[in-house]
Amino acid sequence: MADTLRMDRMPHIWCPGCGIGSEVNSFADAVKRSGIDPKKLVVVSGIGCTGRVAGYVNFDSIHTTHGRAIPVATGVKLANPELTVVVFSGEGDLAGIGGNHLIHAARRNMDLVVICNNNFTYGMTGGQVTPTTPGGASASTTPYGNYEYPFSLPFLADAAGATYIARWTSMHSRNVTQSIEEALLRKGFSFIEIISPCPTLYLRRNRLGDGVDQLQNYQDNSILKHGADTRETAIDYQGKIVIGKFVEKNKPTYLEASDKCSIKLVGDDYQLYGKTIPEREAEEKAEKERIAARRAAMAAAEAQEQAVAAKPRKTSAPAAKKAAAAPRAAKKAATKAKAKPAVKKAPAKKAAPKAPAKAAKKAAPKATAKTKAAPKKTRK
C-alpha cells in the first residue's frame, strides 16, 4: 500500500470507523489489480472529507474547489486522452454543489471513473443534511428530521446517461475493489456509489451506534441485485439498500464521438494534439497489451503464491483437510480470468463472519428496531 499512498502525509484526517479509509484501500488495491500504468492515473477530488482523498494517494492528484472535481477531471482527460482520470469525492460535493457537472459528464459519456462516497452527511462542516440524506434522518440543519426528498444517485446517473453504475457499501470492500477495477479498464462514464458510515456525525446524531454497528446494518439490509432497475434503488432511513452492478453498457465516449465528427470534416489526416486517430489507436492498443501483460504476470504470481502457501500445510498433519482444498483453488485462480478470483473470494470471506453475525443477529433485530423507532417519532 505504501507505494500508492503518500506516506509523508500520514496520519490522515479521517475519524475511526469512517468508511473513506477502506474505500481508499479498495481503490489502491483496484489500481494495482487493474494493471494500468499508475503514472498515467490522475485522481481529482472536490471539497469535504472525501475531497481529501486526492491529497493522500500517490498519483498525480488535484484537490479542487467544492463541486468542481468533475469539470477539472474533464479538462485533464480532454487535454491528454492517454490519462486515466478518477474523481473521488463525496455526495455533497458531487450531487449537491456539483450536481450539474455530474449529470452533464454522464450525459457526454465523458471517459471518467467517478467514485462517490455517500455517507448522507456533510462531514467536514459538521453534519448538515445532504441531497441523499434519507427522509426522517436528523442532521444539524434538519434538527427535527429531514423532510426533503433525497436523490437516489444510481437513478440520477442512469437517467443522465452513465454507462456503468454500481452501488456497494463499506461492508462490501471486495466488490468495491472489483467495480473500481472494472471501471478503470473500461471506456465511458462510470459511477460507483459507496454507502458509508460517518460515525462522528450522522451515526452519533441519529443514535445509530458506531461504524461497526452500521456495517452490521449494511450486512443485514443490503439486497444484492445486479442489473436492478435503478428506479428501485431509493434508500429509506435505515431501510433496505439495493446493491450491485446496475448498468454496464457501451456507447461512444465524448472523445470517440468528437473524433468521429472531426474525421468526417477534416479527413483521415485529422489530428488531435498532433496525433492522428490511427496513431492514437495504436498507442492505446500497445497500452492495452502492456496492461494485459501486467495482469497475466500478477495472476501467475498470485497462483504461485497460493501454491506455495498450500505446500507447507500438506506436511503438517492436522491441516490435511485444508491442504487438500487449497491446490484446487490455486489451479482455478491460475486458469480462470483475472477478475474471477475477486468474485470467488468475496462469498468465501462473507461466509467466514456469517456464523458470528448470525449469532449477533438474534439480538440485533431488537436493537435496530429500537433505533428505527426513535426517528419515527420525529417524523410524526
Binding site: D60, S61, T65, H104
Partner: protein, 387 residues
Amino acid sequence: MKTVTADPKGVDSGPHFMDGDHALAEGALAAGCRFFAGYPITPSTETAERFAERAPEVGAMFIQMEDELASIAALIGGAWGGQKCMTVTCGPGFSLMTENLGLACMTETPMVIANVQRGGPSTGLPTLTAQQDMMQARYGPHGDNMIIALCPDSPQECFDLTVEAFNLSEFYRVPVIILTDETVGHMHEKVVIPPADQIKVVPRNNYNGPKEDCRPYKFDSQGGHPMVRAGDGYNFHITGLTHNEKGYPAMTAEQSKVVVTHLMEKINGNADKIIRLDEDQIDGADVVVVSYGITSRIAVKAIQDARKEGIKVGSLRLITIWPFCEKRIRELAPKVKAFVVPEINYGQMVKEVERCAGGRKVISVNHCGGAVHDPQVILDAIRKAIQ
C-alpha cells in the same frame, strides 16, 4: 522570457476583415492554445464559435461546458494536463468564473480568460458595451491574489494581446484576463495576422528533472518556474489549500505569509517588465487623459479638438490594466495640472489614478454603459482641467 516561433498550424496568416471576438480566437490559436472550454454568453460567444470551427483543422479540443463554473474548472484540468487553455465570457459568466479564478491563482495555473464586457449589474445590458468589470477582474476572487489584465482597443489588438496574454500567463503561471468590451468585440476592422515565424510565443515549460527534486511551486516572487504535467510520472499534488512548495497543504500563518507574498509579488514586483503603455505627447502636457480600451479611441477625438484650442494634452493609454501603472502616474503627477479619466463605468480606474496622483486634480468622466462617450464630454472635462 524564452520564446519560440509560433506553430504554423494555428496561424492563419494574412490580412483579414474580422471582429474583435474572432481575433481573440485567432490570437489564442496562434499562441499555441489547443484547449478551449466555454459557455455561450453575448457578446463573447463568437470567440467560442470561431474556436469550435477551427479546432478540428488545427488539432485542438473545444468543449462547450455546462456553465462558466465548469468552463474555467476544465481549464485548470487542461492546463495541468499539459495544454495551453482559454475561455471567454462577459460579466455574468465572469462572476461565476471568479470561484475557480481564485483556485487558478492559488495553484499558479496558466490560462487566458477574455471578458468581453457588457453593461451591468446583473443581466444588465445584453448586449451593449461597458467597462464595468475592471475592479472585478482585479478583486473578484476572495482572498488576496493578483492577476494580469490587458485591454485591447481594436480587433488587431485583440489578436496581438491574446498572444501576449498567453506569453505572460505561461511565464508567470498566472491567469491573464483580457478586458475587452462589446464594442471592440463586435467591431469589424482590418486584422493582419503575421507569418508564424514572426510570432513569438512562450512555450509550455514542463519540469523534466529528477523526481525527488520535483516541486510544483517555488515561492520566490518570480516567474519562469516550470509546470508539472500530469502523466509524466511525478505524482504531483496541487490544492487550493495554503500549501508548501511540494504542493502539500500547510495551513499556518507563516506559510500563508510565504504563499500570499509570492502570489502578489511575482506580479507586482515585476510590474515594470509586465506593464505596457501607449503614450502620446506626454512631455510638457498640462493635462493627461488616462484611458483604455474603446474609450481611448473616443478620447483621441477630444484630445485632437483640445489641442486645436491650444491646450497641451497628452494621452496615456493603458494596455496593461493590472498591475496598474502607479509608478508612471506618480512620475507624471508633479509635472501636470490634472488627469482626465474617461471610462464606461461609474468611476473605477479613476480611483487608481487618484491614489497615485499626489493630490493633483483628477477628473472622472464616467458613463453608465450602453454606449461609448460623446467626445464632447471628454473635451469639456479637458477644458475644465486647465481652469
